[in-house]
Amino acid sequence: MKDVDINTLKTAVDRLMFELTDEEYSKLLEDFKIIMEHINFISEIDGVDEAEPMTFPFEVSNSFLREDVPHNISTTDALKNSNDVEDNLIVVPRVIK
């Protein structure tokens, strides 16, 4: 992959919806170098690119599906952890995008 520069990181950070300080960015660059070393460890392994990606720890499948029977939690339970609620709606400042 392309070298990771500060702009790539800034875009990624922005899309993750948080901010980093300059100091944190330099730490992040360090971490990224470490990750690239790890990638090198992986790349050194024979046959790695030919292997099938593995999402689950072992071959596993079920055939179970949930029956279509409705069940709600109460509106109180749904909303009590949000700290801005009006008329049972969660309020956020205006969405820009």
Binding site: P53, P57, F64, S82
Partner: protein, 483 residues
């Protein structure tokens, strides 16, 4: 008499004999928890636990966990009890439902007396990166050593004699490593064996419910309670649940156990090496065949690399729901975007944020082949290599840590750059979903260390049998710090 530093069976018998009541136990556990100076607790459920102890269904007295106090890691949803996963972003969050694990324990009569500290959002293995700071190792009164993590408070509360067992979670080695540093039995069963419903997801394909006890028998008993299909968790297994205590005392004659040369070679502590070899001799004495085998060093070194990439990628996605809108510690702003940014900036530690960025970059279209998918490919090769071992062997046995608990001052909250195999190999059991158990095997400078046994998926009975026989030889069951 202090029952809380005993094993579960002893406490259970004392309850049956009327020597102690659940309320006595709960009051004592809470008083110990309040005096705890290892920073093991996020929240002590004083009122709730005493209320529960008073209202226990006496018909359940014959159940082993009836009236037994337990501590739950703070990344399990507990109804009406604050749950933060030791992250500021979840300050004030009170779940409206309980994890399946907690429900099953409570159905058996166990009483949750507290929620334990952890590395923030279960990311990290040191027990130093929670929002309440460092969790200390009860074996070290001077508070200079870590206890390990991420299930740090759960380990500390059992090892300090506050509760006889505690629930943790294990995504890389987050129960099995602290078990080694705390002198405890730490079991992580097969992926899918215990429902993850209610466990805050960190990396779902690697996350396991796991727990600490003081001996192997207790570990088997807890598995009897927790194992089994749960329709609420679509990764929960339909495999039949066994009575895991049944085969505990089977003779080891004919069992085949592999020790891995490359792991042992990378153990730095001479004491640990020697003691480990002694325990290998115990196994042989009991009739097991123990062979030293080799696994490609490159593959072993890539375990941590593979783990860290997959775990970070899944974590980025799992923790995207933490935005302060529906729950959690919202910080105000002038627009939706500003609210979310401010909330997440203030709510996550620097380390968590770095992990998220790395996870996110590895999932980007332009990088996915080289990073995330390559790690998933490597995962298959690693798992294949271990499955090959399990074709011939009942279990793999290795030191659970290359050293005793490290010093706090040398501990860094960072992605590891050294690839010390013995320090990182245990994540192979998460990559392959293998059942894996750490048990104490010795001491060095007054600090405990463990050995780790791992078996093929759903072979918990066999695994616990070997661990139990080994425990008999080491004589290190039911050890508690300072006793």
């Amino acid at each position: 008499m202090n029952y809380l530093s005993k094993d579960i069976r002893t406490i259970h018998n004392a309850i049956l004999d009327g020597k102690v009541t659940p309320l006595d136990l709960v009051i004592e556990a809470i008083s110990l928890a309040k005096k705890d100076n290892n920073n093991a607790f996020e929240y002590i459920c004083e009122k709730e636990a005493i209320q529960k102890a008073k209202s226990l269904d006496k018909n359940k007295i014959s159940k082993l966990l009836y009236g037994i106090p337990v501590v739950i890691k703070d990344n399990y949803a507990t109804k009406d009890i604050p749950t933060t996963a030791s992250s500021n972003i979840l300050n004030g969050y009170v779940p409206v439902f309980s994890s399946e694990v907690v429900t099953r324990l409570e159905n058996e009569g166990a009483i949750v007396i507290g929620k334990s500290t952890m590395d923030e959002l279960a990311m990290g293995g040191t027990g130093t990166n929670g929002h309440l700071g460092i969790t200390y190792n009860p074996w070290d009164k001077s508070h200079t050593h870590i206890i390990g993590g991420s299930s740090s408070g759960s380990a500390a509360s059992v090892s300090a004699g506050i509760v006889p067992f505690s629930i943790g979670s294990d995504t890389g080695d987050s129960v099995r490593k602290p078990a080694s540093y705390a002198g405890l039995v730490g079991l992580k069963p097969t992926w899918g064996r215990i429902s993850r419903y209610g466990l805050f997801p960190f990396a779902c394909s690697l996350d396991h419910v796991a727990y600490f006890t003081r001996n192997v028998f207790d570990s088997a008993c807890i598995l009897n309670v927790l194992a089994g299909r749960d329709d609420k968790d679509f990764s929960s297994s339909f495999k039949e649940v066994e009575d895991y205590t049944k085969q505990l005392d089977n003779p080891l004659l004919g069992k085949k156990i592999a020790v891995i040369k490359e792991i042992n070679d990378s153990v730095s502590s001479q004491t640990i090496k020697e003691q480990f070899n002694k325990t290998v001799a115990f196994l042989r004495d009991n009739g097991a065949v123990v062979d030293e085998i080799s696994i490609d060093q490159k593959l072993l070194r890539a375990i941590y690399s593979t783990y860290i990439i997959i775990a970070s990628a899944e974590a980025t996605s799992n923790y995207a729901s933490l935005d302060g809108i529906k729950f959690g510690n919202r910080i105000d702003g002038n627009s939706y975007e500003e609210v979310v940014k401010k909330t997440r900036t203030a709510g996550f530690s620097a380390y968590a944020k770095r992990r998220f960025v790395i996870g996110s970059l590895s999932l980007l279209k332009e990088n996915q082949n080289e990073l995330f998918l390559r790690a998933q490919k490597c995962r298959r090769l690693i798992v294949n290599a271990f499955n090959k071992v399990f074709e011939k062997y009942d279990a793999i046995y290795a030191p659970a840590s290359p050293t005793v608990a490290p010093l706090i001052k040398t501990t860094k909250v960072q992605i590891d750059n050294d690839s010390l195999i013995a320090d990182n190999y245990m994540a192979f059991a998460n990559l392959g979903g293998f059942p894996s158990i750490t048990i104490p095997i010795g001491f060095c400078d007054g600090l405990p260390f463990g050995g780790n046994l791992t078996a093929k998926p759903f072979d918990e009975s066999n695994l616990l049998n070997i661990a139990n026989e080994l425990e008999k030889k080491t004589g290190l069951a039911n050890i508690v710090a300072g006793k």
